[in-house]
C-alpha cells in the first residue's frame, strides 16, 4: 500500500481529490466535536441529506452538484438557526425531508438514479478545482472564526442563561456556526459522499470525547483521527480497488470499536 504514496504525490489525477478530501477530513471532525458538545451531531446527518437533495435539484437545473448542495445546505442551516430548531425531532425531520426529496428528484429527473447513488456513495476521485477551492475557503473560515466562536460555544453550553440574562444577541454566532457546518457538509457530501461526510463528523468526535484529557485535545485528536483514517482509507481503497466512501466509514467504525474495547478494558481493570 505504501508504494502508492509517491503515486498520490505526483499524479495530478489523484492530487486534487486527495488534498480536497484531506482538508475536509481535518475540518469535519472539529465541527463534529462542536456539534457533539452541543448535542447536535444528528443535525449533521440531516444537513447532509438536505445537501444531497439540493445537489440533485441543482444538477437537474444545470448547476454543479457542489454549488446546488451548498446553496441548499446554507438555506437549511439558516432556517435551523433562525427558527432555533434543535433536538432529535427537528433533525429527524431534516433527514426525512432530505431523503424523500433526494430520491424523488433522482427518480423524476434526467440526472437519474446513478447520480443519486454517486452522491450517497461519494465521488471523491472526480473532485476538481471547484471542490478544492471551496474546501480551502471553508478551512480558512474555520481557522479564522473558530477561535472566536469556541469560548461562546463553551459558555452557551455550561452557562446557558448568560446571553438571555444580559440581553446579548446569540443568533449571530449560532447562525455563523450553522452556516459553516452546513456549507462544510454540503461540500463534503458532494465529494466524500453522504455517509462518508456524516461519519467524519460523528466518529472522530465520538472517539476523542472518550480519550482526550481536555477540550483542546479533543479538537486536536478529532482532527488527527479524521486525517489519519482518511489517509488510510484513500490508500486502502486504491490498493484494494474498493469504493472510497464505504472503506472510510468501515475504518472509522473499526476505530470506534477499538476505542470501545479500550474503554471496556479500562473499566474492568479498575
Amino acid at each position: 500500500m505504501f508504494e502508492l504514496i509517491p503515486v498520490l504525490a505526483l499524479d495530478p489525477l489523484f492530487r486534487l481529490p486527495f488534498v480536497t478530501g484531506l482538508l475536509l477530513a481535518g475540518l469535519l471532525p472539529v465541527l463534529g466535536a462542536v456539534l457533539t458538545l452541543r448535542q447536535e451531531w444528528l443535525a449533521a446527518l440531516g444537513l447532509a441529506h438536505l445537501a444531497a437533495a439540493s445537489a440533485l435539484i441543482g444538477l437537474a437545473a444545470g448547476l454543479p452538484a457542489v454549488l446546488g448542495g451548498t446553496l441548499g445546505a446554507l438555506l437549511a442551516g439558516a432556517v435551523k438557526a433562525l427558527l432555533r430548531a434543535c433536538g432529535n425531532a427537528a433533525y429527524a425531520f431534516m433527514i426525512l425531508i432530505g431523503w424523500s426529496a433526494m430520491l424523488l428528484v433522482a427518480a423524476n429527473s434526467a440526472v437519474g438514479d446513478s447520480l443519486g447513488h454517486a452522491i450517497i456513495d461519494g465521488q471523491l476521485y472526480f473532485a476538481g478545482l471547484t471542490e478544492l477551492l471551496l474546501s480551502l475557503l471553508l478551512v480558512a473560515i474555520a481557522a479564522h472564526r473558530l477561535p472566536w466562536l469556541m469560548p461562546l460555544i463553551l459558555r452557551a453550553t455550561f452557562f446557558p442563561c448568560f446571553e438571555t440574562a444580559n440581553r446579548r444577541p446569540a443568533w449571530r454566532w449560532r447562525l455563523g456556526l450553522d452556516l459553516l457546518t452546513a456549507a462544510s457538509l454540503a461540500v463534503a457530501t458532494a465529494t466524500l459522499g453522504l455517509m462518508g461526510a456524516f461519519a467524519l463528523v460523528f466518529v472522530p468526535a465520538w472517539i476523542a470525547f472518550r480519550l482526550a484529557p481536555s477540550w483542546r485535545w479533543t479538537l486536536i485528536l478529532a482532527a488527527l483521527i479524521g486525517g489519519g483514517v482518511y489517509l488510510a482509507a484513500f490508500l486502502a481503497a486504491l490498493a484494494l480497488d474498493q469504493p472510497f466512501g464505504p472503506v472510510l466509514v468501515a475504518l472509522l467504525v473499526a476505530g470506534a470499536g477499538l476505542t470501545a474495547l479500550i474503554g471496556i478494558g479500562r473499566s474492568s481493570a479498575t
Binding site: L154, R155, F158, T164, A165, F209, S214
Partner: protein, 200 residues
C-alpha cells in the same frame, strides 16, 4: 462598571412574574453592591421564577425590575449542564466563563486540570458556582445552589459565596433557611400567598 459598596445594583418593585400566568408576587426588594441577599421560601412559592424574571427568562406581569446601568449578570440555574461525556477541564470552564484571572480557592485549584465528567457531583457543582462568582459580573444569581451537596460541600459553598468579591453582589434562592443564614447578609421571605408578598 465601578462599584461602591452600598450602591443599588437591582431594584425590584411590585414584581408579579410567571409564565403563561402569574406564579409569584407582588414583591419588592433591592440588591446592593457587596451584599449577599437570600430569597427564602418553601418549595413551589415561585422563588426561581423571580430569578428567571430578573434574567429575562420569565414574564413580568406587573411591577418593575430596574438594573444599574451597564450591570452584568451571571445566572446559574438549579443544576449545572451535565452531558454524558464532558472532555472539558476546570481551567477551560473558567476561561469560558471569563473567570480565569481570579485565583481559585486551593480545594478547587487542585482539580482544575481534570475533566468535568471525572469530578464528583459535588466538586463539579462547587466549581460551577465558583466559575460564576469569579467572573466580572457585578450581580450573581444562584438558584438553589445546595442541590445535591453534602453538608461538607455545603460549608465550602458558603465559604465561596462569602469571599469578598470586589463589590460583587449575590442574589441567592434556597428553601434551606440554615444555609441562607450562613451565607447571606440579608434574607427576604417569599410567601406562597401572592397577596402577602415578602418580608425581610
Amino acid at each position: 462598571m465601578t462599584l461602591a459598596r452600598g450602591d443599588v445594583l437591582l431594584r425590584v418593585s411590585g414584581l408579579t412574574a410567571g409564565y403563561a400566568r402569574p406564579v409569584v408576587g407582588p414583591l419588592s426588594f433591592e440588591v446592593r453592591a457587596g451584599e449577599v441577599l437570600g430569597l427564602w421560601g418553601q418549595n413551589g412559592t415561585g422563588k426561581s421564577t423571580i430569578l428567571k424574571a430578573i434574567g429575562n427568562a420569565a414574564r413580568v406581569f406587573a411591577g418593575r425590575i430596574e438594573q444599574a446601568p451597564g450591570l452584568t449578570l451571571a445566572f446559574l440555574e438549579q443544576q449545572p449542564a451535565r452531558l454524558p461525556l464532558m472532555p472539558v477541564t476546570g481551567h477551560e470552564l473558567l476561561r469560558a466563563a471569563g473567570a480565569a484571572r481570579t485565583e481559585a480557592p486551593p480545594a478547587l485549584a487542585a482539580i482544575l486540570h481534570r475533566r468535568l465528567d471525572r469530578l464528583s457531583g459535588g466538586q463539579y457543582q462547587l466549581l460551577w458556582v465558583w466559575s460564576a462568582l469569579a467572573t466580572a459580573a457585578e450581580l450573581v444569581l444562584l438558584d438553589e445552589p445546595t442541590n445535591n451537596l453534602d453538608p461538607d460541600a455545603e460549608a465550602r459553598l458558603v465559604d465561596l459565596i462569602v469571599r469578598p468579591g470586589n463589590g460583587r453582589a449575590v442574589l441567592l434562592v434556597s428553601h434551606e433557611q440554615r444555609f441562607l443564614e450562613s451565607a447571606c447578609s440579608r434574607i427576604v421571605e417569599v410567601s406562597a400567598e401572592r397577596e402577602s408578598g415578602c418580608s425581610s
